[in-house]
């Protein structure tokens, strides 16, 4: 019996036979997450139904030195939940109970497999909602949101997942169940909760999540403005922020993204627009009314040739439909595309968008831009046709060049999709060796044996047990050709 067979037998005894998959066809279902060009078939898949099951799996992994990877809905776009070939995949989608909705405490307690939008649906009857809303909120799980610290359009005003999680139960890589934070704020001690959120599964598995619920605003108003160019739309965005208005969301789409959205969902955006802005304002009615007039005037001042206001929820949904469908819609105008995710300071938008256009032209590929303009979170869609020799490579070159542009302008290589496996090699471009070493001190505290989602986030693992700062020169793994430094 191989090690994995023995592990499977042990886990079947702990979890029940139906909760452990070893059949190769079944395993294949889990070979990738939302970033489908990385595929790895896991050695074993587990479908725990309780936190105790998760702890049992992790403990078994710890005792046998087996790598494990946690996976929620599998919608991640950086390969964060890509399985390990010799490891166990822990699928949390059956842990999907909303355990408690407590409007008086402005909290909800949920299991990690609960779908993001379901939290809002459960809270709405009480006048509350769950503010972080990734574009995939209809399908992504809270556990995945916690792992990736993912957010969406409304994070500009309300902050992203990390600002809305007040408590976690986690299974640490040694199989212990530990509570971090709770319903109350400011738990004493190190903010391990803050370190865990966004750690991409490398510090353990969340098994229960306490989230903050946000009071529904009195009023929401959404406007759509058409501009001749992204420069104009970018200038309008900066003017809105400079005027002291913090909208609930400011989203921008360029001509190519608009073309794709029109082809897919006929959203009826202003004809001939080189860029559209969607600005959403929420809050007390009088405040929203005053800000709305200000935003409309600023858009007009910066060249908006058409401004539309959603008169009701239906029209509001139509305005958003174009934006929310944009990623998928691009599939209608291009056989293949790469979704990039980078961040720049908002004021650098015009110059970076122009440079993206230039780089794309140099390499003969098209780039559609659809992004969160308010916080500078770009989502360039690099279009290509894999059937045309060389195009995929050129698209990857452009995609990488965009990240370099983000770093060059003081931004980040990811604003919401995470580093995962896809961007681990870019981490040294953004952080020094010492910065990465410091992050790995935390990793070593949680996971000294490096079994929690290994190979993600960091291009080369640190050897735990080294004294910090005492090792200079080549990393031992690099020196012995075990790992590559990008």
């Amino acid at each position: 019996m191989t090690g994995i067979d023995a592990l499977a037998a042990r886990l079947r005894a702990d979890l029940g036979p139906d909760r452990v998959l070893t059949d190769r066809q079944q395993l294949r279902t889990y070979e990738c997450d939302g970033l489908a060009h990385y595929k790895v078939i896991p050695a074993l898949v587990t479908l725990p139904a309780t936190a105790a099951h998760v702890a049992a799996v992790v403990r078994a992994c710890a005792e046998t030195g087996t790598p494990f990877v946690a996976r929620g809905s599998g919608t991640g776009l950086s390969g964060g939940a890509l399985p390990h070939a010799d490891g166990v995949l822990i699928v949390t989608s059956q842990l999907r109970e909303i355990l408690d909705v407590r409007p008086d405490d402005e909290r909800a307690v949920v299991q990690p497999g609960v779908i993001n939008l379901q939290v809002t649906k459960a809270a709405t009857p009480y006048g509350y909602y769950y503010a972080p809303d990734p574009s995939s909120q209809q399908i992504c799980s809270i556990g995945g949101n916690v792992a990736e610290n993912s957010g969406g359009a409304h994070c500009l005003k309300y902050g992203f997942t990390t600002n809305h999680v007040t408590g976690l139960e986690v299974v640490t890589p040694d199989g212990e169940r530990v509570r971090l934070g709770g319903a109350a704020p400011d738990a004493p001690g190190y903010d391990l909760l803050g370190a865990f959120v966004g750690s991409e599964g490398t510090l353990g598995v969340a098994t229960e999540v306490t989230v903050k619920l946000t009071r529904l605003p009195e009023t929401v108003r959404t406007l759509l403005a058409g501009f001749a160019s992204t420069d104009q739309a970018g200038a309008a965005t900066s003017a809105i922020i400079a005027a002291g208005v913090v909208p609930a969301a400011i989203e921008m789409m360029d001509a190519l993204a608009i073309e794709a959205a029109e082809a897919a969902v006929k959203c009826g955006y202003p004809a001939g627009a080189g860029a559209v802005l969607i600005v959403e304002l929420d809050g007390p009615a009088a405040e929203v009314a005053a800000q709305f007039d200000e935003v409309s005037a600023l858009c007009a001042e910066h060249g908006a040739f058409e401004t539309r206001v959603a008169a009701d929820d239906e029209e509001r949904a139509l305005i958003w439909r174009g934006r929310k469908s944009a990623f998928a819609a691009v599939g209608r105008i291009s056989p293949d595309y790469i979704v990039q995710d980078g961040v720049i300071p908002r004021t650098a938008l015009p110059v970076v968008l122009r440079r993206i256009g230039e780089v794309a032209a140099e390499h003969g590929v098209r780039v559609a831009n659809v992004f969160h303009a308010g916080d500078g979170n770009l989502h360039p869609l690099v279009l290509f046709d894999d059937a045309v020799p060389g195009q995929a490579t050129r698209a990857e070159t452009v995609s990488a060049a965009i990240l370099d542009l983000c770093i060059e302008h003081g931004g980040s290589i990811t604003g919401e999709h995470g580093v995962g496996i896809d961007k681990a090699k870019y981490m040294p471009r953004m952080f020094s060796a010492d910065d990465l070493d410091t992050m790995q001190l935390v990793r070593c505290a949680f996971d000294p044996d490096g079994i929690a989602n290994p190979g993600k986030v960091f291009p080369t693992p640190r050897l735990c047990g080294e004294r910090p700062g005492r090792h200079r020169g080549a990393h031992p793994l690099h020196a012995t050709d075990v790992a590559e430094i990008f």
Binding site: D104, T162, L180, D186, I344, P468
Partner: protein, 394 residues
């Protein structure tokens, strides 16, 4: 002469932390010099001092050789108004950051407190209800580790999920993981108008304010033995908008609209040399927490809208049979800790006078302590930074 001799001076009478005198003091002028100092100080027990407004928070250091003073690590390095961010050196007084043109770092803190100290203590005031705390507003940080390595985390953009969010780990770590030398903060526009609504009302009525869609920036409670409890709400926005909302809240609570804050607003409820306790709990439990605290003789203030309260009493609580108040303070902490636990939160003694301090478990029980010890072991294996001042004797 070694680097240590060049950068340090002998400690004076004022260079004392919670009764523990230091041997040496150094005030480095930039990050590089601070790193050189820390490298040279290998083997020495270190406490970091900013504006000193919270230096007496926490247990005394187990040992103290060197105070690193951040008084010269000051200045706004960058204020990118269009990006709503600022980069500041750790020793910059908060007063300076409260006066950025048209924008604000929305953290309540005494004027003399420093940016780094406010982060290290994760201190917060009334406006945390709207803007969050240092952990929410800090987007980038430079820290010198105890082994003298200079490291950065986060960056200069609000939205950033590259790597671990170490800024959160350093926030509230009380200088036990290294020296913060630079912080990057998210800013907010200064609101066009702000008004207060004051009312004599029980803490329970804060729930009415939260349940209404008033978007309050702060909702504070003030209660003391023998006095009527008060609530005060801060509203920010356009002049017309705040006037309308203030009128509605004033009617709801039977209170009055005023342009100024009540005298107790953001003032710690303990006298100099008294006992100060931070109490947290789930929102619905705030009234019970306030009642228990007032029952022990404490004055209680804090955010009824976020579940963070501060209780304070003189060193010897009223009616204390023991001359030094020792027994009474201990009993009060016990009662408050039990109440906070029932409320789903914690009671942490921030400060207490000498003589009382030694008898108290200042931090109380801390879930996840074993993991925290492992983090400390990784960052500071020789346990030199603020030894004994943090949870569980870290």
């Amino acid at each position: 002469m070694g680097v240590l001799d060049e950068l340090t001076r002998p400690a004076g009478a004022a260079d004392v932390v919670c009764g523990v005198p230091a041997r040496l003091v150094a005030a480095p002028r930039d990050t590089a010099e601070a790193a050189a100092l820390i490298r040279a100080a290998r083997g020495l027990a270190v406490v970091i001092r900013g504006g000193g407004t919270k230096l007496d928070w926490g247990p005394p250091p187990r040992e103290l050789d060197l105070i690193i003073d951040t008084r010269w690590l000051t200045g706004v390095v960058e204020h990118a108004a269009g990006d709503l961010i600022t980069v500041v050196r750790a020793g910059t007084p908060m007063a300076e950051l409260h006066g950025l043109p048209g924008q604000q770092l929305a953290l309540d803190a005494p004027a003399a407190a420093t940016a780094g100290g406010t982060v290290a203590a994760n201190a917060s005031g009334p406006r945390r209800l709207r803007y969050g705390t240092a952990r929410d507003l800090l987007i980038g940080i430079t820290v010198i580790r105890p082994d003298a390595t200079i490291t950065r985390a986060g960056g200069k953009v609000v939205k950033n999920v590259a790597g671990y969010d170490l800024g959160k780990l350093y926030t509230g770590a009380f200088g036990t993981l290294g020296l913060i030398t630079e912080c990057v903060f998210r800013l907010h526009p200064v609101p066009a108008a702000s008004v207060f609504v004051r009312a004599v009302a029980p803490p329970l009525h804060a729930a009415k304010v939260l349940a209404g869609r008033f978007a309050a920036s702060a909702c504070e409670v003030n209660a003391a033995p023998g006095a009527e409890p008060e609530l005060a709400v801060l509203l920010e926005g356009t002049p017309a908008g705040v006037a309308e909302r203030a009128a509605a809240i004033a009617e709801l609570l039977g209170g009055e609209v005023s342009s100024g804050a009540p005298p107790w607003w953001d003032v710690p409820p303990w006298p100099t040399g008294g006992v100060g306790i931070k109490l947290t709990g789930a929102l619905s439990q705030v009234p019970a927490l306030v009642a228990t605290a007032v029952g022990t003789g404490a004055t209680v203030r804090g955010s009824a809208g976020s579940g963070v309260l501060y209780a304070g009493f003189p060193a010897a609580p009223p009616g204390a049979p023991a001359a030094d108040g020792t027994v009474e303070a201990g009993r009060a902490v016990e009662l408050l800790r039990a109440a906070a636990t029932r409320a789903g939160g914690h009671a942490v003694v921030l400060t207490a006078p000498a003589g009382v301090r030694e008898t108290l478990d200042m931090w109380g029980p801390v879930p996840g302590l074993a993991l925290m010890r492992r983090v400390k072991e990784q960052f500071d294996p020789e346990r030199r930074f603020a030894p004994g001042r943090f949870v569980g004797g870290i």
